[in-house]
Symmetry: C2
Subunit: 365 residues, 2 copies
Amino acid sequence: MPNSGQHGGQPTIVSIAAHAGVSIASVSRVLNGQGARRDTTERVRRAAAELGYVPNAVARSLKGGRTRQLTFAMPDIGNPVYVAMVRAIQSVTKQAGYRLLLHSTEAVAEDELAVLRSLRDRTSDGLILVPIRITDEHLRALENAAGPVVVIGSLPPGTPVDSVRADSVAGAAGAVRHLYRTGRRRIAFVNGPADTVPGANRAEGYRAALAECGLPYDERLVAHTEFGIAEGTAAAESLLAARPDALFCANDQLALGASHALLSRGLRIPADIAVAGMDDSSLARAAWPPLTSVDLGSSERGRRAAELLLDRLDGGAPPPPEPRTTTAPPRLVVRASTAPPDAPLPPHVPPSPDPTSPSPTDPRA
Amino acid sequence: MPNSGQHGGQPTIVSIAAHAGVSIASVSRVLNGQGARRDTTERVRRAAAELGYVPNAVARSLKGGRTRQLTFAMPDIGNPVYVAMVRAIQSVTKQAGYRLLLHSTEAVAEDELAVLRSLRDRTSDGLILVPIRITDEHLRALENAAGPVVVIGSLPPGTPVDSVRADSVAGAAGAVRHLYRTGRRRIAFVNGPADTVPGANRAEGYRAALAECGLPYDERLVAHTEFGIAEGTAAAESLLAARPDALFCANDQLALGASHALLSRGLRIPADIAVAGMDDSSLARAAWPPLTSVDLGSSERGRRAAELLLDRLDGGAPPPPEPRTTTAPPRLVVRASTAPPDAPLPPHVPPSPDPTSPSPTDPRA
DNA sequence: CCAGTCGCTGAAAACGTTTACAGCGATCCA
DNA sequence: TGGATCGCTGTAAACGTTTTCAGCGACTGG
């Protein structure tokens, strides 16, 4: 009953042509808004409507050489940061008439390379990739990519690929400085894996800010672990031995996990110890107390990456023309978790439910 | 440099055939593992390797009539519940060799219908849809769907579509009973929109459990709002006037928002007031104190939906054979947010808080 | 030694579009 | 009134596969 096509499948351009008594070329032309005589146009339109014709996207793709699909590959769809990126990307691509293929690589490099290679099967017109580590093999794969790629992350200079990076060095430094300004002196650091780009950068920012503030770098105040909530809890517990008065965490997941460790020991945040994270993901607002966090512009980066990609596709700028790199500026978003220790704020400060953030320098004091 | 194909594009089956000195048919056969003479096989393999041949997925789709792509459309990718579903679906479909197209409908019905219609353009082989409301138009669109669809949600009996539902009536009732058993007597309810299926069901469970426990239904203890964190905060604030000793929320987002409202007022959870949510999403674990929540089997439902869909595709069961419906059993996950209050109330002394599923006395007709 | 069989191969059609090209009648201008 | 122009139309090729079909040579069995 549903299908009124020839017999089994959907109506095709051929059915329409037959029904309207014209050639398939005319059908195609009418349906694509090219010129045609008035009554031809009308008959085609009517036939298409009656038969419920919808052009076959696959056939179109084959002819046109483009699928109008884009792929987004990120390490872990469980991390709200990537969800924010998906959102931003989605909104740009949808408007441009592209569909979005999702790929969660679970942070395994081999999977990232597979995605890169899969560009060869022409399933999607382009790729936005968030690699967790960048190996030589990645670079080689990027250079030989069979279509436009935009990387969200930091690439070695000279890599012929558009990229969008966060300035997590500056971001981390800003957070540490903020903790210092609000009176913290033993600022511990829960970092992700040291051999990842984010891990290395955040470590650099941490050390730089310590130096700037005249604080010593103390190894006992630093922990390395995988990015994740449970890992944050474990790391915080082990760091407590060193009696920190603040915990700076390399992302919000770690910070949230760390908070739980502190709270379950009866420590008060921020009265006894401050906690700050990075990414300013939805977790930062979901946490209690709400987490101070460094907004690394995830949405912004997603949006920008999508725009760069679309530009390569539609704008037609072929590979040679200068790889472009954008850096999203970090922005410290101060919330309750880092109020000064002595300021006798009651344990539960209502966090001004801020859609916009306080000024970067404002330590809320 | 990258491309060693004819001149511009990727190598095709024709290039390989020429390079190997065989016909394109032989190339296709060899590459698809059909029988061929030893040296033919070898020459084709070598040619393909040398030229870096990868079959064009679009051409394959056109010929084969299937894209090996599936679409998942849900209301809001910002809600961790749907992320959990994406995860579960992804893992099933990836293993079966399907790619996943994502679509966030932002809970607008028109968008859901558009997705349903877009099945006609043959972009994907099937669809998993999570509708927020089900209108007559939805039902009509479902019946005329141009490909297999699995709905995650409750459909009117008789709808010829596979579906996977949660038993949120029983789930809600179980949570309310749990609150009652742990000594709560003024159990407020923060519900989502009453005209959605989840909203209606949860309300039903709430009322049924109240009745069962001999508690009166008090309108002042009930709020309706959109699903969301901020909405939960607002609703909780307005409900506080009615002096509840527990807040049962229709999902974790509402519960989290509500917790924030309570904590900001200096109320202690669970000492002064208990909070429970539904979905047992990652938010429940992320919250402080960790939220008691009803696991409605999101991952399970995602997994099952994917399996049903794949079965329609590969198992070849054509539309007629009986739409199948699975119901995921709810499971109460007790966490800190609903521990008994400091001073237990007079009459009923609660037994040990049950970590397993709610009692089988099911209020559903 | 011949007919039949078998394994392998290539030509060609097909999937559903878009588009280059040529043909056609009507219109225009000289 | 005749040739050129114009607007519209249809035929056919092309996109890159898979698959049917028939052909071909080499076996096998009688």
